[in-house]
Symmetry: C2
Subunit: 346 residues, 2 copies
């Protein structure tokens, strides 16, 4: 009886032992696969393959497409490429909140355009602003303070404001697959730049913490700045005048101005990124252009109107851009098909 | 007799042996001292000490003046700080040579100002140009071509043009002590930027090779650029219109625009660097401002007029700047006293 119990116990311990080892082995195998996959949030397929093959060629010294580490430059558009930009650009929501906060001190805005229509129409009115109107709103909400104060205000807003659909912080609406692509490129010697039509300082307010991109690697639109002494201290004061618009051809110009190197890989999502991709892929050797297509109404949004998607005033992807993409062999990233997971919290 | 000869020979060999060892020992000691001295071309004294103490404090984790590596930013003016700028800025000589080369195609320059006076007056006339006149010369000699073509022309010129006094290439007139300071800072985790009133692309043409400073770390003055297709290829075309002047307050503004970080150490030599040093040393924690004083007429030039030196239109160091330097504890680098060696070929 005693012997049998002992035998039974031994068998139980042995079974438990085997089970433990099996679990360990499965866990090890899974993590090894994950470690060998630099883009785990991307579905396997030609898009993911194109990125991996590009990186392999660029880093392989025996490849004719090899690029020296100091020349490995990657540029990323921000709105709609790195994070959600619908129903309207995040910075537009920030401007609207600032406008509402400043309105009591500006009774003239109740009758003056475009302030009047934005204060009454909210986000919907913001999405329909012309470039000139946005310039007025931008000047009124982003200037008349030091750079340091602006960064503080932007950071405070980003730490609390939430997206109307997802009810998440805007920095929680950064696309995980794009973060993975950025980190993968950096791990392979690339310097990764944000090249945004949005405000350079607005993106600088969060880029280091959330993208791992330091201030000197954020290229964007900017206001005129005035250097002056205030309270005995030198200060940089933001003026309500546009200095540089880093959009459309401004992106190619801005890349040369700030970086002075032609990118080898560029990511965008709309007609504002056309010239950046042209400039990138027009260079010799290994070059890759990619465009995110917002075709996932369930998990994110669907707009275009390339591929029959509804048109938009916020980050349009017209059929002509799709035609050019095909002609120049740019890679289309389908959110729906190529991204296994869109957000980290999913 | 034989024994004596042998003894004599032994003594000779022994003496030779001792001599060899002594030479070896001296060589070893000298190289050990050199290796432990990060600034061998600087004379020992308070200036060299200030730089070394600053670097020690910034890199010492236990120091209250410690700065994290990603924030270690150093900015260097170019003309008169990194290389010779007398009798006139190098880029002015380049512009003059370009003007002379282009003159046959521009008969109108024979009567039109300021072209007429520069073509007849040469370097002396260049040194006396007003900012507006220089703008005209700059536009006529630096534009109407792609960025790539400009870089090629600048590099070709720098490879052959020689300084009228030294009869050396301009890149051989880079100050060795400043190169040492730059390398010393980089070896201690600093990112080193050129912040120049001169043309950004002109400095980019040689900065990587001669300073070890890549294009994205050259902040300078720039022309408007146009993005367009030429011969079926996207190109960046330089227009004869000034876009940004990176001088005086423009240096503080340019530092924020391009770098987005406040420098911890800045080197300059003239009134055009005043605001850069104010902005740098106005920050909290470890900050150091330094100004090169050209007080060595024998090895280089003597101009100021701080300290009773003759005045100049090329890189002036007025008494008011010296007063401010004293008030703000900026360090004055005396070429005569602080630099053991000025040029590598000396």
């Amino acid at each position: 009886m005693k012997r049998q119990t002992a035998k039974h116990l031994h068998r139980k311990i042995f079974t438990f032992w085997i089970l433990c080892w099996s679990i360990c082995l499965i866990a090890l195998t899974t993590s090894a696969v994950a470690a060998s996959d630099p883009l785990p949030s991307w579905n396997d397929g030609p898009t993911k393959q194109a990125i991996i093959e590009f990186v392999k060629a660029v880093t392989d010294k025996s490849s004719p497409r090899y690029v020296a580490p100091q020349d490995r430059t990657a540029t990323f558009d921000n709105d709609g490429t790195m994070w959600v930009s619908h129903p309207v650009y995040t910075e537009f929501v920030f401007a609207l909140d600032r406008l509402r906060a400043l309105a009591p001190k500006h009774p003239e805005w109740q009758t003056e355009m475009p302030f009047k229509k934005v204060l009454s129409g909210g986000i919907k009115a913001m999405a329909e602003l012309s470039d000139e109107e946005w310039g007025h709103i931008y000047g009124a909400t982003h200037s008349d303070m030091t750079i340091a104060t602006f960064l503080k205000i932007a950071r405070e807003w980003l730490a609390t404001a939430k997206h109307p659909r997802y009810h998440q912080l805007y920095t929680d609406l950064i696309y995980l697959p794009m973060l993975e692509a950025m980190r993968y490129l950096r791990a392979n010697g690339f310097t990764t730049y944000i090249v945004t039509g949005g405000g350079q300082e607005f993106v600088r307010a969060y880029a280091k913490r959330f993208y791992g991109v330091p201030p000197e690697q954020v290229v964007g639109s900017s206001l005129d700045t005035k250097y002056e002494y205030r309270d005995g201290q030198p200060s940089l004061w933001r003026l309500p005048r546009v200095f540089f618009i880093d959009d459309h051809s401004g992106k190619a110009i801005g890349i040369n101005l700030f970086i002075g190197k032609r990118p080898h890989i560029a990511f965008g999502n709309s007609s504002g990124d056309r010239e950046m991709l042209e400039w990138t892929t027009g260079g010799e050797g290994a070059r890759l252009g990619l465009l995110v297509l917002h075709d996932d109404p369930k998990r994110e949004y669907a707009y275009g109107p390339a591929g029959g998607l509804p048109d938009t005033t916020v980050g349009t992807f017209p059929p002509s851009l799709m035609d050019e993409a095909k002609k120049r062999h740019w890679v289309i990233i389908s959110m729906k098909k190529d991204w296994k997971k869109i957000f980290d919290w999913e």
